[in-house]
Symmetry: C2
Subunit: 369 residues, 2 copies
Amino acid sequence: MGAQPQAVERRLHRLQQVMEQAQVDLLVIGPSADFQYLTGHMPILSERLTALVVPRQGRATVVVPRLEAPLLADLADRYNMAIWDETERPAARVAAIGREIGARTVAVNDQLWSVFLLQLEELLASAAFQSAAGVLSRLRATKEADEVALLREAARRTDAAWEEFCATSRLTGQTELQVEARLRELMAKHGITDEVFCIVASGPNSASPHHHNTDRVIQPGDPVVIDFGGRYQGYFSDITRTPVAGEPHPDLVKIYEIVKAAQQAAFEAIRPGVACQDVDRAARRVITEAGYGEYFIHRVGHGLGLTVHEEPYLVEGNAQPLQPGMVVSDEPGVYIAGQWGVRIEDAVVVTEDGAERLNQVSRELIALP
Amino acid sequence: MGAQPQAVERRLHRLQQVMEQAQVDLLVIGPSADFQYLTGHMPILSERLTALVVPRQGRATVVVPRLEAPLLADLADRYNMAIWDETERPAARVAAIGREIGARTVAVNDQLWSVFLLQLEELLASAAFQSAAGVLSRLRATKEADEVALLREAARRTDAAWEEFCATSRLTGQTELQVEARLRELMAKHGITDEVFCIVASGPNSASPHHHNTDRVIQPGDPVVIDFGGRYQGYFSDITRTPVAGEPHPDLVKIYEIVKAAQQAAFEAIRPGVACQDVDRAARRVITEAGYGEYFIHRVGHGLGLTVHEEPYLVEGNAQPLQPGMVVSDEPGVYIAGQWGVRIEDAVVVTEDGAERLNQVSRELIALP
């Protein structure tokens, strides 16, 4: 989970350079992947404020409640520690730093709880507040070599779990929750136990992209959208396959082939310099031309790293160019309410001259017993 | 997990009454226990905004991304549904409602991500934003009879897991992580599998109140702070016991008895009309008079319900009076860095004329093999 101290040092240095360019005076980062990226620690997220407070120049400060200070004790080498007591208002510690440096522009991480932002806005009434996403994604969206290696390994282990699932498991007669339990067992067997997620959406439920699994019994002919992944040494895998229970209906085969072609088209669009929205367009064109455009109701992909969804988002309206080292999902889908849905997803890393899939398992329509 | 439709209806009605009293025009509630309390649903928390938007008068609106709309489809009976597409900015949907009713005061739930609050502040620039905690805790802090029944059942099952643990488990020679695994197994056996948490802090680690479990092997004489719980039908249990591995050191016995007396003093202070801070003071007085005041580094307790930590907080500075139906933790502790710590915690419900512990298992110092 923890980044190496040298990596953390380098990232913090780079962060302050980006803050300089973006004219951000102070960054306030609560418990989140951003905090983890910059410290190697994931602090407890609660009503007690923990935050990394980074000025544009000079030493950063970790604000932490006294009862959780032992968990971050090793950060004292590199950061000022502002340990607050239960009867204090911790936002005042952050505001004091802001006042000391005369901060006019303060950026906060997107996931910081509003209760803290409201307190900071009150205490630093003359400062302008903004999202820190622009600054932080300048660092996090482009993965370092060590990060790509972990994402690759997470994908490899997830692929192994999937191959074992296909070789050993039934769909027909199983409930969605049973299929989920089986996949979680296999993920654990292949070394992924942290923050495992697993959508198993069968039959008509497969038309709900983020379905909550139920005890519905899978019927012959059902497509089953299985979207799963988890964290390996801090970095996520995220893959989707849509096998069918027994013999597929010809209409399902037709839709499956359209989605597969769209997924391939998006993959082929991914290379340095291409705008994120052009990857979405590449997949959408295939599906729209086949007559199913209205059923592809989500963006084609998202960044993948310390979180499952992060920048860059492959969505219409995002003209940001892809860069080597970015890792994104490629996951078009078609969802016909009341009937069925199909999604196919791989993680993809942008290389110097193109792209490489991190997931290697077959994308063909698989019939399972 | 889901509240009954009638309960939801009644809560929403009461909420609008409280908004009237508090002069709040619009409430914006992202995915959180607050959302769950008011709808019976826990939506997905992500970069895609889902929110319940409640005007002071009239029908509330659920803002939800199209790909997750199927999950909340049954809310369409009671709420307006604002289903947004991937290329839209969902905060604009919320702002449109605010403009329509001329909202001047907008309250947001404490856990709403800052990225959304910043967008709302920009779009509703003339409105004043505030925390919704005051309004929401007027409802949630005092539990309904059904809620108390579920909290009681969660505590009963957790007690059963603890009794079985004590009857069947060793500490000496086990790692903290092994003890955690054993307790999780027993929680599952007694029907609690959702959001189980389990701190196992042994020997010197017991001085870190929110310790992260390690593979440290428990030694003879170690106190082991075990703080655990989980969700039963949506409602949390939360209990701490500090058994010792083998024979306790006389100094540990002495500290244990002080903490036990403090926990009893706090319990005896809990009754309707007593200020929250007076419960903290009752425990703190016992520990301070025994000479350990500086080692009791956290508040004595917190509310318990759909979340593990919620209002009311039993902390110095909170003069709010306790009311029948409030459920709080009573958990003083003494933590001596580098040496050891002790914490004893029960969930307690405020009754019409006093208080009742929801956890019934022994609070005596237990020696386990």
